[in-house]
Amino acid sequence: EPEVTQTPSHQVTQMGQEVILRCVPISNHLYFYWYRQILGQKVEFLVSFYNNEISEKSEIFDDQFSVERPDGSNFTLKIRSTKLEDSAMYFCASSDTSPLHFGNGTRLTVT
């Protein structure tokens, strides 16, 4: 069964550094998403992406965040200047209609 794959599985970075989280969505899917789960809290929607542009974003997705589909297969989330509170599990998801298919996540630790 096709899967959404995310790399790396765990990333440690220092506060103020830029990080890029990478995702390979399922190949025939057209909608892409990023979600975040701070330890012990619920999964929160960050952004959705369709037709090479952001279709919806949450209040969390401020100017330090950006998404890109640099080629036909990858979907990336960039955090420009990481803060301690950005430490979380970041999930990528993709869909053609519904439901969403999630990757296993990238655990980001900001020190």
Binding site: F91, S98, P99, L100, N104, G105
Partner: protein
């Protein structure tokens, strides 16, 4: 305000016992409804979904859920729990016409021998 509520933070059941995890939502119209499971260190796996039609839906791993419009609920059930069912369970809704999901806070299930 729109919301998804899972009132039970943590549930412990004995292996072989029945299980019901509660989920209530507050949205203007009937949204699409989902249950996902997350094993430790893993991603979110879809258990089942409800879009329309029969209000009792069957999912993977022997789970089922019942949509009750009058109660705005979508509770997850399993008649006999296995030790491997220990995980975090998330109810999620997609407002009709929207592509993104909104999750509840999750219920952690512990299974004791």
């Amino acid at each position: 305000a729109q919301s998804v509520t899972q009132p039970d933070i943590h549930i412990t059941v004995s292996e072989g016992a029945s299980l019901e995890l509660r989920c209530n939502y507050s949205y203007g119209a009937t949204p699409y409804l989902f249950w996902y499971v997350q094993s430790p260190g893993q991603g979110l796996q879809l258990l089942l979904k409800y879009f329309s039609g029969d209000t009792l839906v069957q999912g993977i791993k022997g789970f089922e859920a019942e949509f009750k419009r009058s109660q705005s609920s979508f509770n997850l059930r399993k008649p006999s729990v296995h030790w491997s069912d220990a995980a975090e369970y998330f109810c999620a809704v997609a407002p009709t016409g929207a592509n993104n999901l909104f999750f509840g806070t999750g219920t952690r299930l512990t299974v004791i021998p």
